[in-house]
């Protein structure tokens, strides 16, 4: 392959000269072997590109969106490479061992109202099990100085009334949760509202207020005043506007063998090549070809790239030309600082409990994750990461003693997703205003770069495992059609 520009006139135009200069000096000469030169583009040899790139499509990011996109592209006969920064698949899901118990440090729960993940569960015959505390026998609610402890059934009606009241607009605002345009005016009208703003609009007793705020802050994974109200409404609409279904969809059913088993199964079924330990530092588009550079490795060329990444990390990758201002602004400001999720093994059998605390330091929502022989494994969501260190037994114990004064923490763990350079956050939806400011722009492809990932798109369960799979499948289909 010659890199000598063939110019019939014998003189090189200024533009073509500059392009050649960029080719020769830009990203290293190794690229020349992979990318068609500007001269080839100029002579119209476009049909050669398919075989000149290393791959048809490179998927960046091996979370659920990425493995799904890679599988579907590969099954559509595209030469597909999946690049993953870490040494495992699953992205912001991560199941592992803690004190000999199987836990999920990231995304966990799935449900049959989540059509994409449930289809995969059925397709691969994945076993599902329950989380005991999602249907608790006993509830304790702390709201500031108020404390209520009760058998669930004695006050469940008050909880349902509170939820129904808070979410009464969900069916109106998200009449079609997979098509925001259908009721966009209603979304837009409320987009500046925080989850806390809505709390001020409804009448609640102290128990209801404490429970509701705590649940909202666990759903949002941030303080209620930093969470978008319409995002909360979306979750409820997707739960068929029903509190019982929401509890089941958000906190009850999990995959027995762990989220990683499903992610690996999807990847293996597709059979696309996977490269681990390959964090991408640069993505360059040139003459219809995309060059992707993993850290410390030569660039790899493809006809299209699928970004299956948390939007927060986009600011840490160099794009040439740069991604739109809107996407970079979203990476910096669309999402709140996330809270923490922790697991604590505590002494004794607590049974099936759910504990909710609001308006007190270390507020959060905690419930039984596993009932063990002589201990109980609790899972907890704390919206303000600076209030509790989920790896500090004494701090976690102090938080949990608000509910059970003699409680003893045997051990605890928490993964700092906000500090993981390849996640920089958790499942949080937009901050108030995010729907109007960032939602559409984040989903817009740029040239041969396509936007997948669990936080992207008008596909219902955005920010969930389900939304990640939905988006990955959809983008794989779009890319397959584009490259056909």
């Amino acid at each position: 392959m010659s890199s000598q520009p063939a110019d019939p006139s014998g003189s090189m135009s200024r533009r073509r000269f500059l392009e050649s200069a960029v080719t020769a000096t830009g990203s290293g000469l190794a690229l020349l072997a992979a990318a068609p030169t500007s001269a080839e583009a100029a002579t119209g040899q476009k049909h050669k590109r398919a075989t000149q790139t290393d791959y048809d499509v490179i998927v960046i990011g091996g979370g659920f969106s990425g493995v799904t996109a890679a599988r579907d592209c590969k099954k559509n006969s595209l030469r597909t490479l999946l690049l993953e920064a870490k040494s495992r698949l699953g992205g912001r899901t991560f199941d592992t061992q803690f004190r000999g118990h199987h836990i999920e440090l990231g995304g966990t729960w799935v449900h049959w109202t989540q059509p994409s993940v449930w289809a995969e569960i059925e397709r691969y015959g994945i076993e599902v099990e329950e989380t005991p505390g999602a249907v608790p026998d006993r509830v304790v609610v702390v709201d500031g100085d108020e404390r209520s402890a009760f058998a669930t059934e004695s006050r469940i009606n008050e909880i349902v009334v509170a939820m129904t009241s808070y979410f009464s607009e969900s069916a109106l605002v998200w009449e079609r949760p997979y098509d925001s345009s259908y009721s966009w005016k209603e979304i837009e009208k409320r987009d500046a509202m925080s989850a806390a703003d809505r709390l001020m609009q409804i009448q609640l007793n102290p128990m209801q207020r404490g429970f509701l705020r705590s649940v909202l802050e666990a759903m949002a994974h941030c303080p209620a005043d930093q969470a978008s109200y319409v995002e909360m409404l979306r979750w409820y609409a997707l739960s068929l506007n029903n509190w019982g279904t929401a509890v089941d969809a958000l906190s009850r059913y999990k995959m027995s063998a762990g989220t990683g088993a499903l992610a690996r199964r999807i990847a293996a079924d597709g059979g696309a090549e996977v490269r681990f330990n390959a964090p991408v530092t640069r993505v360059e588009q040139r003459s219809g070809v995309v060059l992707v550079t993993p850290r410390g490795a030569p660039a790899i060329s493809a006809r299209a790239v699928i970004l299956a990444l948390p939007p927060r990390v986009l600011k840490n990758i160099e794009f040439a030309p740069g991604l739109s201002d809107g996407k970079i602004a979203a990476a910096r400001a669309a999402y709140p600082t996330p809270g923490i999720k922790f697991y604590a093994e505590v002494k004794g059998r607590l049974g099936k409990v759910e504990w909710a605390a609001a308006s007190t330091p270390g507020a959060g929502l905690f419930w039984t994750y596993a009932e063990l022989e002589r201990s109980t494994l609790l899972v907890g969501f704390v919206p303000r990461p600076n209030e509790v260190d989920g790896n500090d037994e004494s701090a976690v114990q102090a938080v949990l003693r608000k509910f059970e004064p003699d409680l003893e923490v045997l051990g605890c763990t928490s993964y700092a997703w906000g500090s993981d350079p390849y996640a920089l956050g958790t499942y949080t939806g937009f901050t108030p205003g995010g729907m109007t400011r960032y939602f559409a722009e984040l989903a817009r492809s740029e040239g041969q770069i396509f936007m997948a990932g669990g936080d992207i798109g008008d596909n219902g369960w955005r920010n969930f495992i389900d939304g990640a799979i939905t988006r990955g499948a959809r983008i794989a289909r779009e890319v397959s059609e584009r490259l056909a």
Partner: protein, 137 residues
């Protein structure tokens, strides 16, 4: 949210902690409880690491033989640039300095762990790690 503290200050504090740690190690061998350390490892480290030779953990390098090892030297693991640029070997004192606050000590590390603040837990797990990869008697 991680905001990088002034790196010179960190180095200075780090050096001070190191000196204190080295001094205390030199004065008297701290009580070393590898059994307690194994439990700390299962609670705090095993989510990401193994102590198996040649087998990295789900998201972290194997800690087999970590004591005395050069930083960022295990194959098959993509270290962060900030960890790769470190030269000081993982002595007991450096491990102690690091484990109390990995994200603060080596800003930019991939290790998404808020740290082992409890002194005795930290000492126990370092003691346990020192046993992993020691030549068989």
């Amino acid at each position: 949210m991680v905001t990088g503290p002034d790196s010179r200050a960190v180095r200075r504090i780090g050096a001070t902690v190191l000196l204190i740690a080295v001094a205390s190690l030199a004065r008297a061998e701290p009580p070393c409880d590898a059994t307690a350390g194994a439990e700390v490892f299962a609670t705090k480290c095993a989510t990401c690491h193994t102590v198996l030779a040649g087998q990295n953990g789900p998201v972290g390098p194997s800690l087999f033989g970590v004591v005395g090892r050069r930083p960022a030297s295990v194959g098959g693991y993509a270290y962060s640039p900030s960890m790769s640029s470190r030269r000081e070997p993982w002595t007991l004192a450096v491990l102690d300095w690091f484990l109390i606050d990995p994200l603060g000590r080596v800003p930019g590390t991939n290790m998404a762990f808020t740290g082992l603040k409890n002194d005795s837990a930290r000492a126990a797990v370092i003691c346990y790690l020192a046993d992993q990869g020691r030549a068989a008697p």
